[in-house]
Symmetry: C2
Subunit: 412 residues, 2 copies
């Protein structure tokens, strides 16, 4: 089944925005084992649009378009599609009602240009937009489907899942996909792949394995669609086989963000956390507090960027900076004690390191980071080295701190 | 001049990574007034690649390809280009030397598969890669150029600027572009555009104006290439005209990140900063500490996520939570005092608000944020309301805090 994704808009072509819609759509399709053959970004230009829509629909069974559906002069997708499919026009009452409600709710007048959004080609089905003003369109021809969505990611995503996915499943008889996830840490994608290459090579053709790496964390997704009655047994056997090979690197067997998992662990145990950060400068606190509801378990943190603040807020003895250096096991130990005392939490994390570009030495090069955890079982402090630029060192440190915390939580 | 950007790699087509190369390249080209007509992402498939390379080169004067240049079996770009351009093969000594140095530096053996990277089509020019292992290739035919780069953004960017830009300028006689930037805040793109629409409409054809919005911050870029001797006078007049219309919303007239500008302001005045964050949970500290060298001015912060920590670390009187609520002018005032006292800095920022999704009330709905600054001129505390989800409320708060701080710094 041939699929292409088209994104329309000058703002993409001039590099003003990065096209994130195509990757999102591709990932969604991936869970149904559909892999797009091309993604094309095109500008708001009549001739180009008509030519590309035509070519793309000729080559494909399914064409998905985002963008170019707004109420302004630049937005040409609807016009061009009507031309391509030789459409007449109709007023769509459902869209009018939705628009009416949308503007009333916001105490705004429904302008003529916005009203026009309910004027649609008469040979397409409406894809309702309950999250914005521009409806989507679905055209069918010779068993093929072309679907057009607004470019706003939030609106497109909601409409895509609610209306297009069921259409695809039905129209193309797409089999249901079952997935299983491993979240792993501290094993590079290439090493992970080597470790299980024989398992991967012997997978039946209706099975697939995807690697989704992010710094020192790799998400492994095993999926299959039902073909044989024995598939489920095979699926479970493959899961067991993979687990045996990489057990030491598995964080959790679930499709979840690392920090969300930590939140769930702490919440289910009614335990609390605080953080003392030096070189990560607030990144750990910031990542944690992006989780809605985290205030139940996260009490707060200290960003002790200067030595004075380490002493003043965390009671690190002044002499330890001279004796051991701010980036040392001893100072991180002091930071742990200070943090626990300040926040009275079950667990505290402390971090001190050198993220660069300056500040490194032969003894402690850029990328050297001490990470400590204090909890019911006492203190653990590890020295790590992370490659990469400033931001990468910080983000790798974050994941490692989460991993050390996870182990400590599960140990007690 | 017709330009297309192609990105090669299954990892893009399955949505595993977002293609950021195309947007980066488009932005670079934009400063030379070149706008790509298409961006195409294609998979590691021989037939597809050959077909698309062909079509694209036929349609265009300039084709830029990234990806598919590594040493593994999946990497087909070099082979397909050799087929397309009817190339023979040659060993490139300079690439061999670079590879040799690259691996020696890392104490690693130069494997056969890596050595093969120096084996290149005999009718292309080498684009040296000093930042990785895969060299780029530049083909010329009938006055057209096709350039191929590795997909690693860092390597591609360095090579692109150093080798391709001068080629483009020379080969296509691209005129030099001059630019001027306004960084603005608290004025939506549409309002900004309305305010200066007559100026924009009357720009000569060799002038252009681009809006680069990011939440409550919009970057405005005016550019032109020389055509008439009076262009420079026109340029300066347009700058003056725009300035007069939007003066109240201008942060700085420079192509710079907001936080980098704040860093420069503080550093040039030898002043220091600390931060007390509640609802932003460390985001302000984290954004600031992503700047290399910030330790000269940023002393640290407190993430006082719980009321207890606001009292314990910042000495917010307990009774004020009951009396005014944690999200109030009074508590932010207490946080400012506490923060300044703790860190002994010239300026402190304090933030308390409701980022949602829970915690809102009719009186203080989700999006309500109090932001305070304390400095040599005393305290300023403002109540703001920011629309959007949790993350957006945090990021808008960050920019607003930077803006309040900027004004306070410039006032003293």
């Amino acid at each position: 089944m041939k699929t292409e994704i088209l994104t329309v808009g000058d703002e993409i072509l001039i590099g003003q925005i990065v096209d994130i819609n195509s990757a999102w759509i591709a990932k969604e399709l991936g869970t149904w084992n559909i892999k797009p053959t091309r993604m094309i970004s095109l500008s708001d230009n009549r001739e180009e649009m008509l030519e590309i829509f035509k070519e793309s629909f000729e080559r494909s069974d399914l064409v998905i378009i985002t963008g170019g559906l707004g109420p302004t002069k630049d937005d040409l997708t609807k016009d061009i599609l009507a031309e391509f499919f030789n459409s007449g026009w109709r007023w769509d009452q459902e869209t009018l009602d939705t628009l009416d409600g949308f503007f009333k709710e916001r105490n705004r007048e429904l302008s003529e240009s916005n009203k026009k959004q309910a004027y649609l080609p008469d040979n397409c089905e409406t894809i309702p937009n309950k999250w914005g003003t521009a409806p989507g369109m679905l055209f069918r021809k010779n068993g093929k489907i072309l679907a057009s969505f607004p470019g706003v990611p939030f609106e497109m995503q909601k409409m895509f899942r609610k209306y297009l996915i069921p259409e695809i499943v039905q129209n193309f008889k797409v089999p249901e996909i079952k997935t299983y996830h491993f979240l792993t840490i501290n094993i590079p994608e290439s090493v992970l792949s080597d470790k299980i290459s024989d398992i991967e090579d012997s997978l039946p053709p209706n099975f697939s394995l995807a690697y989704l790496p992010n710094l020192n964390v790799v998400r492994l997704r095993l999926s299959y669609y039902k073909k044989l009655s024995s598939d489920e047994i095979t699926f479970n056997k493959v899961i067991d086989d993979i687990r045996k090979r990489i057990v030491g690197n598995i964080v959790v067997e679930k499709d979840i963000l690392f920090e969300d998992y930590i939140y769930q662990l702490l919440e289910s145990r009614n335990q609390t956390l605080s953080v003392a950060e030096s070189c990560t400068g607030g990144l750990v606190s910031s990542k944690l507090t992006q989780i809605a509801g985290i205030s139940k378990v996260f009490m707060g943190g200290v960003v002790s960027y200067s030595n004075e603040s380490k002493t003043d807020l965390l009671h690190v003895p002044k002499e330890n900076f001279k004796k051991y250096g701010a980036v040392s096991k001893e100072v991180v130990g002091n930071m742990l004690d200070g943090c626990k005392e300040r926040f009275h939490t079950d667990y505290s994390i402390a971090i001190s390191g050198i993220t660069g570009p300056g500040g490194g030495s032969s003894n402690k090069p850029v990328g050297t980071v001490y990470i400590g955890i204090i909890g019911p079982n006492g203190k653990i402090i590890e020295k790590h080295f992370f490659p990469g630029d400033r931001i990468r060192v910080m983000e790798r440190t974050f994941f490692m701190a989460m991993e050390m915390l996870r182990k400590e939580i599960l140990r007690s």
